[in-house]
Symmetry: C2
Subunit: 205 residues, 2 copies
DNA sequence: GTCTATAATCAGATAGAC
DNA sequence: GTCTATCTGATTATAGAC
């Protein structure tokens, strides 16, 4: 009976986890597509294929839905950082990460949070999981930035925090969608262009 | 009697114009502060100090309110472009314009439109005034960009349209508010930093 | 044109049966 | 946990008096 019970509970929990994963993936896509304010809980429920009331059994509010999606993004970022060879050049790792985030954005997988919204910000700041993820990612990137500046690869005149913000901002750069809408370039060309303007600047060299 | 009539009508129209200007300024600030979705018509009315129903006598919808604010921004941009010395270096003029737009953003005077919202986008695209303003500004900037590329000041490898988008994107760059929130730098330092990352890039030279 | 009052709608959240 | 049905509040928009 013990084993039976354990297996049953584990299976149930697996189902629960799978359902919540499906919810978070749907939220992720909707956030990427329309942003937090324009996304409705009805849409999320319809997209997952369950009733709205069921959603609220998993997540207590719309803010918590968005927060869960952001926590997942942070987890994905940490996973990606862990795949990078530890002995690679910090600048190369930074470039790889930025390109990866922009690829996510182009693929409609990067949730975009209107940076002004207050209720969502409050939920995010209160989320231990989100803040931990953000801080860990920032620590890793920050260390790479400082090394890259010390070795003369990144302009040391720019405060490291400004470099970090500039890299984060690529994840929500409207230039990506503008160029994509233009239809004149494929995704790789767009990535090359924005990578170039980000690291080399607009000026001729 | 004719003169009296003319003066009276003109005065009325002046009052009307002044009222609408006040409305548009309030909308401008609220759009800059919270964005289109989070801004409510009640807030606009309260901010102007008139009843909500009166607002709707001037503008038929919330979208038209936002559109009027955007038209005003475009007009201000055109006015600013006209103040630049015609014989100055195109690159210098571009830099001056970008700095001006970022200054507006730092001052809470740059309305931020969630680029995804559909109902607002439809209204903007249907607005002759807005589209005209946008096209004229883009034409002027585009000509400067091409000249700057031809004279070797701006990287000619980058399509002019990508340069234009990159410059436009500075007007809603979240790096500005992040650095401002950090409190470590004053406005001029922030402008210098973002100008540098925009034109010189992150790489050391 | 401006106001008060109200309609109409939509979206976040909940009740309660199963 | 999932559902249907409903509540509640906020928000866009309008009616109608002055």
């Amino acid at each position: 009976m013990k084993t039976g019970n354990v297996v049953k509970v584990s299976f149930k929990e697996q189902m629960l986890q799978a359902r919540e994963d499906a919810i978070i993936r749907a939220v992720n896509h909707l956030l990427a597509e329309k942003g937090f304010e324009a996304m409705t809980v009805d849409e999320v429920a319809a997209s997952v294929g369950i009733a709205k009331a069921s959603l609220y059994k998993h997540f207590p509010s719309k803010e918590d839905l968005a927060c869960a999606a952001m926590v997942r993004v942070m987890q994905r970022a940490q996973d990606f950082l862990a795949t990078l060879p530890p002995d690679a050049e910090p600048l190369d790792k930074l470039r790889t990460v930025v390109r990866w985030t922009m690829q996510l954005k182009l693929d409609g997988e990067m949730p975009s949070l209107p940076s002004q919204n207050s209720s969502l910000r409050a939920t995010l700041m209160a989320s231990k999981d989100y803040m931990n993820g953000l801080l860990e990612v920032s620590d890793i990137l920050g260390a790479w930035i400082e090394t890259a500046q010390a070795t003369g690869r990144i302009n040391a005149q720019i405060p490291a925090i400004a470099v970090l913000y500039t890299l984060y901002a690529r994840a929500c750069d409207p230039v990506l969608e503008f160029l994509k809408m233009g239809g004149q370039h494929d995704n790789d060309q767009i990535l090359d262009l924005v990578m170039s303007t980000c690291f080399d600047g607009l000026n001729a060299r």
